[in-house]
Symmetry: C2
Subunit: 299 residues, 2 copies
Amino acid sequence: MKVVPRNRVIYTYSFRHKPVEHVKLNETFAIMTEDAFGGQIKVEKDTVEGLDWSKVDGATGPVFVETAKPGDTLVVEILGIKTESKGVIVTVPKNGILGEKPFGPVTKTMELKRGFVQFEKNVRLRARPMIGTIGVTPKEAEIPTGSLGRHGGNMDVKDVTAGVKLYLPVFVEGALFAAGDLHAVQADGELCVSAVEVAGEVTLKFKLIRREQPEWPVLETEESYSILACGDTLDEAAKYAAEAAAKALMREHSWSFEKAYMFSSLAADLRINQVVDPKKGVRAVVSKGFITLKSLLTA
Amino acid sequence: MKVVPRNRVIYTYSFRHKPVEHVKLNETFAIMTEDAFGGQIKVEKDTVEGLDWSKVDGATGPVFVETAKPGDTLVVEILGIKTESKGVIVTVPKNGILGEKPFGPVTKTMELKRGFVQFEKNVRLRARPMIGTIGVTPKEAEIPTGSLGRHGGNMDVKDVTAGVKLYLPVFVEGALFAAGDLHAVQADGELCVSAVEVAGEVTLKFKLIRREQPEWPVLETEESYSILACGDTLDEAAKYAAEAAAKALMREHSWSFEKAYMFSSLAADLRINQVVDPKKGVRAVVSKGFITLKSLLTA
């Protein structure tokens, strides 16, 4: 199995980066990933004050997907996520949803074992490893791996776990995929700007859907499809997610806008992904009972 | 059992309204409620164009809770919600999260039976009856029952179902409680501004917690506590919900702000209630494994 080492890190999604690996469709491969701080924070006396910010929020890649062409959809099957046994979370003064409050730069390290994250001696959370940054390369712009958009990127969606599929629009030959920023656990919102940041390894497989694309990245779980929208505010992100959901329901059921709009009000849950990245993220979650993948893609 | 009939409707939470019923603590009673349109829309040719808007978004009440005093918390146990067998949903031009789009006033009626909402011939949703408007009377201001705030009101939280408890701060003698606006089903967001609006009957019981109050209404389910915040934007509502969650975690665990802020990022899910009322609503959901009611109240 091909393994991309974690030192093959990029800080922008850009067509200028040379691929570090080529993979075929249906080929299982792995990428190793650094934590969001590039491994700079190891112990609790290391705070963000000493951080080299140019080494933060990297992603491993880019990986060239053979035969992927602009206009296709890259289907990313997340087969497994393994994390190291130690994670870290930080506060960053002036950052996060409560950034207006006065507070200091604090670092907390945590043991991850037997499926739990030990936050304090008597407080532990069930681990739910997820991928914070996962995306493909846009056509022209260079987009920092710490940002997010229609190409994916630093979406910080807690449901991007092992077992799901992610549908990303392909913009350049080979898609030029990269991922990183694993979290051992994160709540919807990621409200302090950091989750349990951890290095690890992700096992993946790619498929392609030819000549059709989703408007926004789409996440498929066992029960539902989620449209992963973003905007400058939560309100804007929610509007984009709602609009994409209504459009997809119109296509699925041959409904008028009004009927799809009504049905979205009953069956499209608007949920917050994160509130702390360069753009805010909202997903519209619709049960597979009401929508199929076909309606989420257009030629 | 005392039953408050559905013609005892108010359109503001106001200390000026005379109580329509007095109930004791632990006394099971019922209130009948009109649908959000005050029963004005019965068939699909009735659209919002002919609506008398002064008769919309009413609540049944107010009910005087014996011995309830300002500074206490009213514990509302929702024992049951029964809905009529026909519901209605509408689009209102210029309204809802996609109000900028051009669309007309459309009305759709639906049968509710055997636990399902029949949206179309071949499209049905599982019914999940909930209370859209539920609240107490503020000290001075008269607040329209179509609005929401620290007193509760038109919060449109889909988790306000039978079996939950709601904790509301008491501002006036007797609390002066009122509720209405049942929905047979609603998704997080209620994005078109209407859900499956339905008349019905709610069975309730009150308890009191003396001389302590939550900052925002708190919802207790079997698994979690949710802080129900609101603001002029989703971003503002999310900030208030996050702040209240962090404060409660500080009290619960005797943590510093930084530690509570970090933990909120891992264990406080920010979820959207609705995006279409006079204020937007966000709830912070925290598992009972991490927080107790005591920390959500202050003297």
